[in-house]
Amino acid sequence: MLSRLVLVSGHTLKNSGSFGACLVQASRSFHQSSQSLAPVPPLPEKGGKVRHGIFPEELFTLLYPKTGVTGPYMLGTGLLLYMLSKEIYVINHETFAAASIGAVVIYGVKKFGPSVTGIVSADKFDVDKVAKAQEVKDQAMASLAQGIEDEKKEQWRVEGRHMLFDAKRNNVAMLLETNYRERLHMVTNEVKKRLDYQVELQNLHRRMEQEHMVNWVEQSVIKSITPQQEKESIAKCISDLKVLAKTTQARASV
């Protein structure tokens, strides 16, 4: 008996909040009914209506067609008086104890009832829970929508990819072209240098030959000048000079 109490309290502990909703699934195997799941209809927020704190409203509605509004009250009074007068209920010390505890209970409920309900009523307890879950759900939805936006943007980017590739291709082609031209230039220069060298070489050759020839001719001429010829040329030069001096003198005196 006590173990069942412990088990059931344990079940209560298990299911109420912090001990893990996963344990609830373990208990499902004991329920034989078909498991109809979400959406579960919400529980009524308030319990059944009662009058004077204990008598359910259904009693009053039951008796209303036959006995009207005062029916249940007459029933209650009648029952009470019957039990008292026939001594089915004997007034003894427990009556006063009952009155006392009744007063305490009524006082407690009237005073602390609203504040206790206030702890767990919809505007504090469950609203927090629901608000947190809603927040989580909204955040998840927002992040998923953001994911969709990003995906669309990526797809748009992919469309423009060929332009990127063309530009890259052009770039590479230009590099290759530049490289090729540089090498061509270099090759031309090298070849020109070689050819210039050959030209210079030939020029040098010709110049040397020319100089050599000129020297040789000069040497031959100098060698061929006999002393006879030398005297004749000097005498000619002197007579030319005399004539020249005469003409200059004549021109000066005129």
Partner: protein
Amino acid sequence: MMVSFFDQFASPSYLGIPNIAVAIALPWVLYPTPPARWINNRLITIQGWFINRFTNQLMLPLNVGGHKWALLLASLMIFLITINMLGLLPYTFTPTTQLSLNMGFAVPLWLATVIIGMRNQPTIALGHLLPEGTPIPLIPVLIIIETISLLIRPLALGVRLTANLTAGHLLIQLIATAVFVLLPMMPTVAILTAAVLFLLTLLEVAVAMIQAYVFVLLLSLYLQENV
């Protein structure tokens, strides 16, 4: 008609079936099992909130090994508090006025804490027998005293609960009888006595809750020493 006021504490039986069995099973009926829902109605929410809060509070000073006792202590607390409070209603029988029931709770649970302590950390458990800072000449005496104090714990637990509840019920009965008897003779005095009865009932409500809490709290303290 009762012969003596103590007859109310005799364990009642009807046609050979002990009523105490029904009285013990009654608290189970009063706490509905929460359905597998995320948001429940107010009653279940309050119940769950209270149990959670209480267990949290109780488990604060305990280390993780002590948390294994959460279920036991919380259910014990709910049981005792319900039985005590139900006993305040008229014409009811309170099982916790029976020493047998209270000792049945106190001795096994206390013994469990002691055995856990002796088994897992014997040095520390025995070390509790000597408080810190005792002067050396007093040590032998103090160990004897502490051992006696240790062995008396289950007795104290059981008898505390029994005595408090029995005394409270007895007082209520006596003063209610006084009111009943005085009412025809001296109504004014009867009304004064009725006021006393009202205050006493308030006290008894408090005592009912406090005694249950103290029982469980002391057990958790013994556990804290030993686990």
